[in-house]
Amino acid sequence: MTATIERGNATASINPPGDATADKKTPRRRGGFLNSSPGKKAVMAVTGAVMVLFLVLHMAGNLKSFLGAEEFNAYAASLRTLGEPILPHRTLLTVLEIVLAAALVLHMWAAITLARRAGRARPVRYAVRRKSQAGGYAIHAMRYGGTAIFLFLIWHLLDLTFGTVNPAGGSGTPYERLVEGFAPSRWWVTLFYVLAVLAVGLHLRHGLWSAFQSLGQAGRRSYRGLNAFAVTVSVLMVVGFLAVPAGVMAGVIK
């Protein structure tokens, strides 16, 4: 006699008809890579990496303000002539801006859809809420921190890119806008900036190793190294970005 084991029935009745638990609807989800949770995380990791690369260059560029107005303004102008004369004026920069904007939109899209999915998966809270068992703090600030970064970004573009809300206005040179932007009378702007930079640091403290994990490139042997990498890069970013307002405050940049 041959026993036939039917795959699917091996574990007895699963939500048999009439069973009250069968009423809970399995959420209907569209399939495909971008709707899968690891797929969304991969999108987040790649777009996050694009933004991190940008931030590193951005920070290095900002530090040029310590070299004086001429150097800094020349650097700002050179960004616009990047790729010339092969490419027309401002072509490469515009392309890079589009890539960055796309990365930001996709990153936020993945973050928001995953957060909504998480909310639906955990509709009931525990009566006793204990602090993290894993001892992580950075991870629990990802969503709030990310939102804070986004809000700052809007202000930041209005302030130093378009000059709309900057005392030096859109017609000032980049250096003027920078110095005016961090003027002591606008201490609350500087405070906002400092908080946003700290939020970026915290975001990357978790995000940098998390990205490797999401792309399946982490393992038992690499966690220590990845963590050290994440801490080092985040600290460098925070220090590098805070150096400029500190320089303005101290009168080194004026």
Partner: protein
């Protein structure tokens, strides 16, 4: 020992449920947590009340049936320990202990502390197996396996499907469980032919059941009674991404 218990009581899946406070006296510190609940239940039965329903089977930490959130921590604060292996000596006399069921939409409460974990079964059914001709078992040494791989596969295979990882995850993600099952098979030669299709099918089922995505919080490993490590999730991601190319 005397204890105050605050326990989630819920008649059936439709009931809204509430916390009910009980006093349990003369508990021996040598009792397991479940034995302590047995004491309470015996009294409730004698008094004509409905006993507190909870899942359990082996009571030796290997079946994965028992599971409850004790003072906000899945399986209680003792690390690498199932609820049935947790002993009352870890609690103080006159302690107040809050006991809740696993909370996740794909784990609906059946009654009191019992949840329906058949969503896990369906994830296994989607791909947590190897398709081999059922003949006599091959010689153990006919296919060599690296010691490290054998060890890691075995570590992953110790997952008892208790669901604590889901209960502890702020995203309600079943990634640690699914990844443990994927890792266990994908590290061994027998698991190679279906490695990618398995990862894809199991991840898709996990998503379809309504579990959340992983954000690498690590809350799961911290409460896992078997200490399943986070690198299993990296492996799941890798296999899934490869399958999606």
């Amino acid at each position: 020992m005397n204890l105050t218990l605050k326990i989630w009581r819920q008649k059936d899946p439709q009931d809204r449920g509430r916390m009910v406070t009980y006093r349990v006296e003369d508990v021996s510190p040598d009792m397991s947590f479940l034995e302590m609940l047995d004491v309470l239940n015996e009294r409730l039965i004698l008094e004509g009340d409905e006993p507190v329903a909870f899942d359990h089977d082996c009571r030796e930490g290997i079946c994965g049936m028992c599971g409850m959130v004790i003072n906000g921590v899945a399986h209680g604060e003792q690390v690498a320990t199932t609820t049935c292996q947790l002993h009352m000596r870890h609690f103080e006399d006159n302690a107040v202990i809050t006991i809740e069921p696993w909370r996740a939409a794909p784990f609906p409460v059946v009654k009191d502390l019992v949840v329906d974990r058949s969503s896990f079964d369906r994830i296994i059914q989607a791909g947590g197996f190897i398709s081999v001709p059922a003949g006599s078992a091959p010689d153990a040494h006919s296919v060599p396996v690296k010691k490290e791989d054998a060890d890691n596969a075995f570590d992953a295979a110790t997952c008892i499907a208790c669901g604590a990882c889901v209960a502890a995850c702020p995203n309600g993600s079943a990634s640690l469980f699914t990844a443990a099952k994927i890792t266990h098979l994908s590290l061994l030669p027998q698991g190679q032919p279906e490695r990618e299709s398995r990862a894809k099918a199991m991840v898709e089922q996990m998503d379809a059941e309504g579990f959340g995505g992983c954000t690498n919080t690590g809350e799961c490993t911290a409460v896992c009674p078997k200490g399943i490590p986070l690198d299993t999730i990296a492996r799941m991601n890798r296999d899934y991404l490869r399958a999606s190319k």
